[in-house]
Structures are given as C-alpha cells and as structure tokens.
Symmetry: C2
Subunit: 122 residues, 2 copies
DNA sequence: TTAGATGCAAACATTTTGCCGCGAT
DNA sequence: ATCGCGGCAAAATGTTTGCATCTAA
C-alpha cells in the first residue's frame, strides 16, 4: 500500500468533516486542495480504507453512500427533512447482547439507524 | 388511489417472498404473472406503498434497495457472504428507550442492522 | 526501476421520468 | 367520460473500470 498525497488528504478531509459526506461532497472538498483529483481516486480510496477498517460506509435509502471517518462504536440519526446524518455516541452492543446471542450465524458488527426530524428542522 | 391488478400483485408477491428482494428480483417474480409489467410500474408502486407505510425500504451498502412487505417492528441480519437478508423478529425500542430520549429531535422509527455470516454460510 | 496509483472517460447498474394511450371508477 | 395509471424508452444518478501515464518506494 503506497502512501500518496491523495490518500492522505482524502482521509484527512473525511475526518475533518463531521457531516458524513457522500463521495461527491468529499470529492468537492478534496478538490480544493488537489484540483486534479478524480472521482475514480476518491471511490477507490474510500473502498480501500473501508476494507482496511479505517472508515465506515453508511447506507441510507437515498441512493448514495455516506462515509464516516471514525470507527468506534456509535450510531446514527438520519433527518428525513434535511437529509443530515448526526452521530449518536453510544455503544449499543451491551444493551442488545440478548438479541445477538439468539441470531443464527456469526455476528461481526451492528449498526442502529434512527430516523426522524432533527432539532434544527423541527 | 386507484386499485389495479399491477398494484395488487406487486404487494402480494412482495409479501409472499421472504427474501427481501431487490426491485429487479421482485420485477422478475411479478413478470411471471403479468408478462407486460414494466420496471417503472414496479418502482412507482414500491414508492407509493412505502410512502403509505405499507412496506419498508431497506438500504444496504451493496447499492440496490431491498424491500420488506411487513412493517411490524423487527430488525435485519445481513450476511456478508451470500448477501441474504434475514428477519430478526424483535422489537428493540424498549431496550433502546434510553438512547431515544437523549436524541435531539423527533424520533420516528429506528432500525437495527446486524452484519455477519449466516449459519448457512458458516 | 517498477509495481502500484492516478486521471480521464467510458461503461455500468439502478432508479427516475416524460409521454401517450388505456382502463378503473 | 375522466383522469389516474401503466408501458415504454430515454434520461438521470451514483459508482466502477480500462487504459495510458505517472510516481512512491
């Protein structure tokens, strides 16, 4: 795995943003620092970092993945009004241990999505 | 809202399938009964039913939405090996009441996804 | 020096949409 | 008879990929 300026800045910008950006939003931010950056590089880098467990891919029903630069156990609140995604800093694994012990198969991780209207939109 | 044979059969087939199909998979099933059905109709109907709260749209990171014909509180297990989605018949809202009371904004619903390897793939 | 990474553009997969004719009410 | 709905195909969207070039190691 080669260290390139693109990879450095993509991860750096993702971690600086608290907004769980889409690939396109992240691309626009990175572009300010590397004007020649391409979409292909952004996607390839995001997938690489995800596969190495350094970032998390979030799927919501609005077609495009969101990306989260932090991998500690936490959950997400999705605002159905503005589309914003907010962190819920809580590890739920202890609360849900009962469920997990009853699931057939091997559990690797879990993720809770809370849907609603954020306080800014209320 | 007009009652048509297409809408009847789309909902019927979705509820018969326990597999949380993609739109394409569902389309293929419906096509056996209505050979002239179009993708547009399937998508329009799924969105209509979702907006009316009769079915649920599930988003996973593998690009296409899955659809669930049942809306009672339950969760999902996603197998990273075969891509299958299995129901976890449990309402977690009581267990997570603490989290919900601390989320800023109005919570409408929540959904837990458990990622792992299902027992068939182990 | 060279394997691996980037940039670019074309290809892809999925979903959405406009239009017109049809059919449920 | 009306107007919402379905079929069709084109367009839009988000993502992935092939290839030539470049560059970190």
């Amino acid at each position: 795995m080669r260290q390139t300026i693109q990879r450095q800045i993509i991860l750096e910008e993702l971690r600086n943003l608290k907004t769980h950006p889409t690939a396109k939003e992240l691309y626009n931010h990175v572009k300010k620092r590397i004007p020649t950056i391409s979409f292909g590089t952004v996607y390839r880098t995001l997938h690489l970092l995800r596969d190495r467990g350094e970032i998390i891919e979030l799927a919501f029903a609005d077609r495009s993945s969101r990306w989260d630069g932090f991998t500690h156990p936490h959950q997400h609140f999705y605002c159905e009004s503005c589309g914003g995604v907010y962190d819920v800093e809580e590890d739920i694994s202890n609360k849900l241990a009962g469920i997990l012990s009853r699931v057939p198969g091997k559990v690797k991780r879990m993720h809770l999505k809370i849907y609603g209207i954020c306080d800014k939109c209320l």
